[in-house]
């Protein structure tokens, strides 16, 4: 059985709830581009998880309308890496994903939890070239 010690969370505060900075769109700038998968691998309306360097994870979505978004895969409410398995949709036109665990709904554009605007998933820039989807990480 895999037992792993994890690095991404250091000095986890004792608050019961995730309080992170409001979501924002990825700012332009130099990036490291990580290959995710061929576009053809994406099922419209569903997500996949992408392993990032430093054992972070992104959730990558292709929507039926063609838009591609990437947000963090870790559900800040549940502490589990499940966002990529959530259902997509929209709330008043804003594209969303709902956590498959407790159904909190996040904006795919900004990562913000729509009913709890203090909580947000990170967002990642997306690029598609020659049929390959890449995610942009800040250098």
């Amino acid at each position: 059985m895999t037992t792993l010690t994890l690095s991404p969370v250091e000095e986890a505060p004792t608050t019961s709830r995730a309080v992170v900075r409001p979501g924002m769109l990825p700012t332009p700038g130099t990036r490291q581009w990580i290959v995710a998968c061929p576009v053809s691998r994406l099922v419209p309306g569903r997500g996949v998880a992408v392993l990032l360097p430093g054992s972070a994870q992104a959730a990558l979505f292709l929507l039926p309308n063609g838009m591609i978004y990437a947000v963090g895969n870790l559900d800040p409410y549940a502490g589990a890496a499940v966002i990529s398995r959530g259902l997509t949709g929209d709330r008043a036109g804003d594209p969303t994903v709902a956590s498959p665990l407790l159904k909190q709904v996040f904006s795919l554009r900004t990562g913000v939890a729509l009913d709890d605007p203090e909580v947000a998933l990170p967002t990642y820039a997306v690029r598609v070239q020659h049929g390959t989807v890449r995610l942009g990480l800040p250098r």
Binding site: P28, L51, G66, G79, A80, G93, Y124, G136
Partner: protein, 853 residues
């Protein structure tokens, strides 16, 4: 057409018009109708092969595809010998010294006066890939033909690939929205990307833009404001990947640039005419250029340095120049840039000083989010004179308001935008606040209205916080009326995307035969769905066919459980429950379950439904686990689905000394019959072999209890949060009738229940209650019994084990990975603590720290 006064006389002068758009045509018409002495001969050069057409109405070409329908009347000048219209001929060069125009077919035409009416051309931002195949502009009939061709082949290709065809419009101004509508009419899903933070930034302000965006978005146009287009790259499949400046990306079939226009002043520039700072042929207020024999009209003209992108000022310029050529002294008076239009059926109007740029100007705004309207008036600093305004969603007041621009407003200017016709008396009921509404519990109107004011927005909420209506219920109609009077709409809507209830959607699916979510939401809903309506529709589709739940578009509708055919647990791992019909399991199967649990390190627990649950499997382990289970003849237990779970049974007459019927055999038969049936909520059965009821069948949705004459059928028992005993539907049935009645009961429930409504609350809500249900099931009072049975027969015949089907399908199998870019990797966040008496998942610490990406 005019009657020349000297029909025999020859015209003495020649005017050449470059450009045959709406303004060029207007000029020719104006000149010819006023030139009663036939002094002018007119030569018109039209670069387009079509004579002047209604470019403002270009979008109406979509659908009719009839070029003639857009032709401006009189545009061929038939019967007028003094007009020489040359279609498809471009002016290459103007020589002002010799006063000649050289055309692209080599002709040299001498003029006395020259009118430049070349209009403008679309601005294509120089983003990488802007010239890729599949990129278009939106200006001419030919452009639309090209877009149509691309759209049609895109739709064909998308249909073959089982996806939506879409198109992106770069630019969210007036024309951009027109183009988006055109794409929509062509059958593409339109996207609009606008660099400004709002749509139509030139015409509407922030508030109006927000309302407009909501309205346009509601019409199926995907709006992305505040984003630029960074690059366009052709993919191997011919689609275009468009990168937006906000970090998102879009896969699209075609791109239409509608990012503004630029004056087509190349010929004039080459001829050495003065041009404006931002382009356009510079003219004075008589529309005369820096050459006294050369004039410019329409979008190409920069009258005193300013270009006008509307047709009305262009027409005025045409009239001015015609007048001048005939010796008049008309001048261009400036233009009213007020606009009122209907974009995709949405009214937008902007007039006067819409952006309140006048010093000291005051704004009065009224926004109605529910109706989707925005109205703003701009008044002078003393709040007396109307200066301008913006209307979105409802522009019916445009004409009146525009008439007041520059004038003193009678009375309070705020009334100009306040919604007319509010009838305050209709809002309040005649009853005083201390009137008792619920006499059982002594609840007054005041307390009910108080609860509504505090947010109780349905009957259940009011019952909960006031106890009104919880005893006899006789007052509920009055309570309901108070709710409605207070503006609360009692909704049976499934969610924001469907106004229908689940039962109505079920009927729609059955009667229309629509088999896709996208088809259903396009025709009967709005938007793109959510975590509520998608699984509901998925369930309806599954209840009405035997397709695999992960087939095609259905895969995208399934909640995580149904998507991975396992039960998600709190750390994102899954539990696995093989079916054990009636609680039966062979030794061989039990051994394999044990081996699987040992080999994959799974935590094992026996469920309440007489089967075994294996916890802690990662996504990528599921296929390997199931391969071993399927190999010993086990199949999916559908513990993850809103579907038949288990048929619990006692050991029955074959072993038990009290048993009167073979409850195990019946349980196994029933489980085999109804396994895989998707329903509004989970369904559990129990079969007891005698009245001692060891299978606890009366706590189940379907309870079957043996009698010495056969079986008693109980229905609508539930455990859970609100336990309910099952009610006796009918007694002493033989095997065959029992099955037939259960068929009818289940299908009736599947068709009519609300989303996530278990059988007990369903029966409570059923009009006529148990008597009605009995009549439907046992007496076929609705005449649908045969239909219900046939539906169940189809389900039984079409049953397949979902897990075996996945194992046989490499494409479906390929989705069972933790990481798309590292299929061999296990999720590093999954960890367990095995130091205690049992294995438990370890969650990640909270919170996650946001990266500033």
């Amino acid at each position: 057409m005019s009657t020349p006064e000297n029909p025999t006389g020859t015209p003495t002068r020649t005017v050449v018009v470059i450009g045959h758009g709406m303004v060029g045509h207007r000029f020719v018409e104006a000149l010819r109708s006023r030139d009663t002495g036939s002094t002018w001969k007119v030569t018109v050069l039209s670069a387009e092969a079509d004579a002047a057409y209604d470019r403002v109405g270009l979008s109406s070409y979509v659908g009719t595809w009839d070029r003639n329908a857009l032709a401006l009347s009189g545009n061929s000048y038939a019967g007028d010998d003094l007009v020489d219209l040359r279609l498809g001929v471009r002016a290459e060069h103007v020589d002002r010294d010799t006063r000649t125009v050289t055309t692209d077919d080599g002709d040299v035409i001498a003029y006395d006066d020259l009118v430049i009416a070349t209009g403008s051309h679309p601005f294509v931002p120089p983003v990488p890939g802007h010239d890729s195949a599949g990129c278009f502009v939106y200006r001419t009939l030919d452009d639309l033909d090209a877009i149509r061709l691309a759209a049609e082949s895109a739709i064909e290709r998308a249909a073959a690939e089982g996806r939506e065809a879409n198109g992106l419009v770069v630019g969210g101004g007036l024309l951009g929205l027109e183009a988006a509508n055109a794409l929509r009419l062509l059958g593409l899903t339109p996207h609009v990307v606008e660099f400004a933070p709002r749509l139509m930034p030139l015409q509407v302000d922030v508030g109006g833009g927000a309302v407009l965006e909501r309205l346009i978005g509601g019409l199926g146009v995907n709006v992305h404001t505040g984003a630029g287009t960074s690059s366009i790259a052709t993919q191997d499949d011919g689609r275009l990947a468009v990168e937006l400046s906000d970090g998102t990306a879009l896969l699209t079939d075609l791109v239409v640039f509608s990012a503004g226009v630029r004056p087509s002043d190349a010929v004039a520039r080459a001829a050495g005419l003065d041009v404006g700072e931002r382009g356009g042929v510079l003219t004075d207020i008589a529309c005369r250029t820096s050459d006294e024999n050369v004039w410019a009209v329409g979008e190409v003209a920069a009258v005193e340095g300013r270009c006008y992108g509307l047709v009305a000022p262009g027409y005025t310029m045409a009239e001015v120049v015609a007048d001048r050529l005939l010796g008049g002294d008309a001048t261009f008076p400036g233009a009213d840039l007020s606009t009122k239009l209907k974009l995709l059926g949405v009214d937008v109007a902007s007039f006067g000083d819409a952006m309140a740029t006048t010093p000291g100007a005051l704004e009065i705004v009224h926004t109605d989010a529910t109706k989707g309207t925005y109205a703003k008036v701009v008044v002078s600093d003393d709040a007396r004179t109307l200066l301008g305004g913006i209307l979105v969603g409802d522009a019916s007041a445009y004409t009146t308001l525009k008439a007041y621009v520059g004038r003193e407003v009678p009375g309070d200017p705020g009334t100009l935008v306040s919604p007319a016709g509010i009838d305050d008396s209709a809002l309040g009921s005649a009853l005083p606040d201390d009137a008792v509404i619920c006499s059982c519990n002594n609840v007054t109107k005041g307390s009910i209205c108080g609860a509504i004011a505090e947010g109780a927005c349905d009957l259940a909420a009011i019952k909960g916080c006031t106890t009104a209506g919880t005893t006899c219920g006789g007052c509920l109609p009055t309570v309901k009326k108070l709710l409605v009077d207070s503006g609360v709409e009692l909704s049976k809507a499934l969610c924001e995307h469907f106004e229908q209830s689940r039962a109505e959607l079920f009927e729609i699916v059955v009667s229309t035969g629509i088999r896709t979510f996208s088809g259903l939401v396009a025709r009967y809903g709005t938007g793109t769905g959510c975590e509520i309506c998608k699984p509901t529709v998925a369930s309806i589709l599954a209840s009405t066919s035997s397709d695999h739940v992960l087939d095609g578009e259905q895969a995208a509708l399934q909640d995580s459980n149904d998507h991975f055919l396992a039960n998600i647990q709190k750390n994102g791992t899954y539990s696995v429950v093989p079916r054990m019909p009636g609680g039966e399991v062979t030794a061989e199967q039990l051994i394999v379950i044990g081996q699987v649990a040992r080999d994959f390190g799974l935590y094992v627990k026996v469920t309440g439904g007489q089967r075994i649950d294996l916890f802690g499997a990662r996504v990528e382990q599921l296929p390997a686990i199931w391969q071993r289970l399927v190999d010993v003849g086990m199949e999916s237990g559908q513990a993850y689905g809103k579907s038949l779970r288990t048929v619990k049974s006692c050991v029955g007459s074959s072993w038990c000394r009290y048993g009167v019927q073979d409850s195990v055999a019946m349980a196994v038969d029933l489980e085999h019959r109804y396994r895989g049936l998707r329903s509004p909520h989970k369904i559990k059965f129990g079969v007891s072999g005698c009245a001692r009821e060891c299978a606890e069948a009366r706590g189940k949705d379907v309870g079957v209890i043996a009698t010495d004459k056969g079986w008693n059928l109980y229905v609508c028992g539930n455990g859970g949060q609100t336990p309910a005993h099952a009610r006796l539907l009918v007694s002493d049935l033989d095997d065959e009738t029992l099955v037939r009645y259960i068929d009818r009961f289940l299908m009736f429930y599947v068709r009519t229940a609300d989303r996530l409504q278990r059988t007990a609350p369903w029966l409570d809500a059923l009009e006529g209650g148990l008597e009605h249900l009995r009549a439907v099931v046992c007496e076929d009072s609705l005449g649908i019994a045969a239909d219900l049975e046939a539906a169940m027969d189809r389900h039984v015949a079409g049953y397949q084990d979902e897990w075996k089907a996945v194992l046989d399908d490499p494409e479906k199998l390929s989705r069972f990975v933790s990481f798309v870019n590292a299929p061999e990797e296990a999720d590093p966040t999954v960890a367990f603590d095995e130091s205690g008496p049992r294995k438990v998942p370890v969650l990640l610490g909270l919170p996650t720290i946001r990266e500033n990406v």
